[in-house]
Amino acid sequence: MTGTSGSVTSTSPASDRAARAEAGVDAVSISGVTKRFGTGEHSVIAVDNIDLNIADGEFFAMLGPSGCGKTTTLRMIAGLEFPTEGSLKIFGDEVGTLPPNKRPVNTVFQNYALFPHMSVIDNVSFGLRMRKVDKATASKKARELIDLVQLSGMENRKPAQLSGGQQQRVALARALVNQPKVLLLDEPLGALDLKLRQEMQLELKSLQRELGVSFVFVTHDQEEALTMSDRIAVMQDGRLLQVGTAEDLYERPGNRFVADFIGQTNLIDATVSADDMIVLANGSRVRAKADHPVGTKVAMSLRPEAISIGARGSVPTEHQAESLDGVVSTATYLGHAIDYHVNVDWIDLEVRAPAVTSSRRFTPGDEVSVWWDRHSNWVVSG
């Protein structure tokens, strides 16, 4: 899981990091952390007893809808909030109530929070100046970082004179100039338009590989999380639902929420029956591997692209036990695929069929059968 040990120029932090990585120390280690805002009756639990370990050099995303506690968790790592309970360690050192200026981490804030009264170079060198690094060194290092984020020549501009993308780079340089052991990013791409966002995703990823520093990244955009991260933590209502790679989350979601939140899926309510079979709400039995005891209410997750569609009765024999009959209700041509909605008795199934020229097309009203591979469905707790 740990990323490539990067080609960092300055030796001491890098070798220090390497030594610690060898010793197996996690960059961030959170155990039993709860954060409660307010007291008594009016208290709100923002983060509810989570355990999380982030490896050194890892690109780690925290994903979830707004208010799920992901930002609060990030702020606790930064020291901008303190945990109500639990332990929080950065490279093995307990940092529970250490103020932010005493932690070896830096943050790229949402909307960047650049100092509006300072030039780009003053913004970038701020952290060094606060630590009393001498002026010449501070401005030399700041210039290096400004080069790194490709903003040379803009040193004396004020943040207001920069575009959104440029401000984002300044924020990145301002955090990275301090050589943090962990870089925290709070929705760093949220304010950028789509094209710029995709560019920055790739840039961030390659920057992270180059530096070999752990990036902890908060986002509500699942696609962003999937494309950039080594591992992703999905949060909901202050709880940590699942931590895993993009493949883990997409193909083997731990529960209904994760299945629904990551990508598109059809969730079909069912009951576990004997012999690796589940019974759907209309009484049809389909084959599905479930680890749950017989009689448990579950949901079967079927990705639209995992479902095949054909004329009624054309189900290949080996898929007889994983098929349903239905009627096409809508057909949307997407270019690379055709998106069908197939009405099967009590549910609407979304089916995405590749739009190969030779493949048969269906129109609304057509009677069809849909089937899937027995390994492509996934049963989650109901």
Binding site: P100, F109, F115, F126, G127
Partner: protein
């Protein structure tokens, strides 16, 4: 005085002409002109009021300052001269001016020191708490300024609560009333809201994340204040300081009530010139100088921090 009115008229004409010159299609320009005229009509009562009761008296004072005191305590306006302004170089005047300026500066600095933490606290509270605090800041305005000054007179008096209190805790009775300390105390009390409000407005507008960002970038509390909060709140500091300094410099009521007769300040001295010494030109000259100082300060305020209010 009659010369002044046409002057103002041309001023107003210039304003509407300036708009007509804008490169807009004709009908839009006509539309704009009409709206301007309507605006002028609506603003007219205020214009007239200010001209009659503010501009004209003010100019009268300026004109009188160039006159000469006649034998009966009036002013001879037939020969304009700068005699009154020459008198300003007098040793006594300089002492009074410096004393007034000194007290005004001390008042301003104390107001700033007291208000800043308060304004910061207020700006960082929840909406509800903020509004309650704002009301508390405004409450003193509901009582007449003179009455509030007399309240201090009672509090600080020889047998007043303050003196009793210091006596009670073993410091002996205090005699603050009729000293410069009492004047500063009264002025700070009177003008505190004028410092708090612009400071609050300025600090409230600062994005709280900037402070967090500075802490994240290794600034300690003091450095955060020094490099982020203070420079960003400077417009409020300038605005508040000017709003306190100006009235403090020309204060009359507070020094008169709490300062007694021993320490004459500019405001009282001017009143004396008008009412007791009956030297109208000299009083006018003093007033004019004071006005120029205030005007300069106001211009600085509008240039630097005018947007805060």
């Amino acid at each position: 005085m009659a010369i002044l009115t046409p002057d103002l008229d041309t001023d107003l004409d210039l304003g509407s002409n300036g708009v007509a010159q804008a490169a807009t299609p004709e009908f839009e320009a006509a539309n704009e002109r009409q709206r301007r005229r309507l605006g002028l009509l609506i603003a007219m009562p205020a214009y007239l009021y200010l001209v009659i009761f503010f501009t004209i008296p003010l100019l009268t004072v300026v004109i009188y300052s160039f006159g000469t005191r006649d034998r009966f305590g009036g002013a001879d306006l037939t020969r304009f001269n700068l005699d009154s302004y020459r008198e300003l170089g007098d040793e006594l005047i300089r002492t009074i001016l410096l004393r007034s300026a000194g007290l005004a500066i001390i008042t301003t600095v104390i107001c700033l020191l007291v208000s800043y933490p308060f304004a910061y606290y207020m700006a960082t509270r929840s909406e509800t708490v903020r509004n309650v605090m704002l009301v508390f800041v405004m409450i003193p305005f509901w009582t007449n300024f003179l009455v509030r000054n007399y309240a201090w007179y009672v509090i600080l008096g020889t047998d007043g609560p303050f003196s009793r209190f210091t006596e009670f805790i073993g410091l002996g009775p205090t005699r603050i009333l009729f000293t410069q300390v009492a004047v500063v105390l009264g002025l700070v009390y009177g003008y505190l809201p004028f410092m708090i409000l612009p400071l609050y407005a300025a600090i409230e507008r600062i994005d709280g994340r900037l402070m967090e960002a500075s802490r994240d970038l290794y600034a300690n509390g003091w450095q955060s204040f020094r490099h982020v909060l203070w420079p960003l709140s400077l417009p409020g500091v300038v605005a508040g300081s000017i709003l306190v300094f100006i009235p403090s410099l020309g204060a009359y009521v507070t020094p008169q009530i709490l300062g007694g007769a021993k320490t004459t300040l500019l405001g009282s001295y001017i009143v004396t010139q008008f009412l007791t010494a009956r030297n109208l030109p000299f009083g006018s000259a003093l007033s004019t100088v004071l006005m120029i100082i205030m005007l300069t300060a106001t211009i600085v305020y509008f240039r630097k921090g005018g947007r805060t209010l």
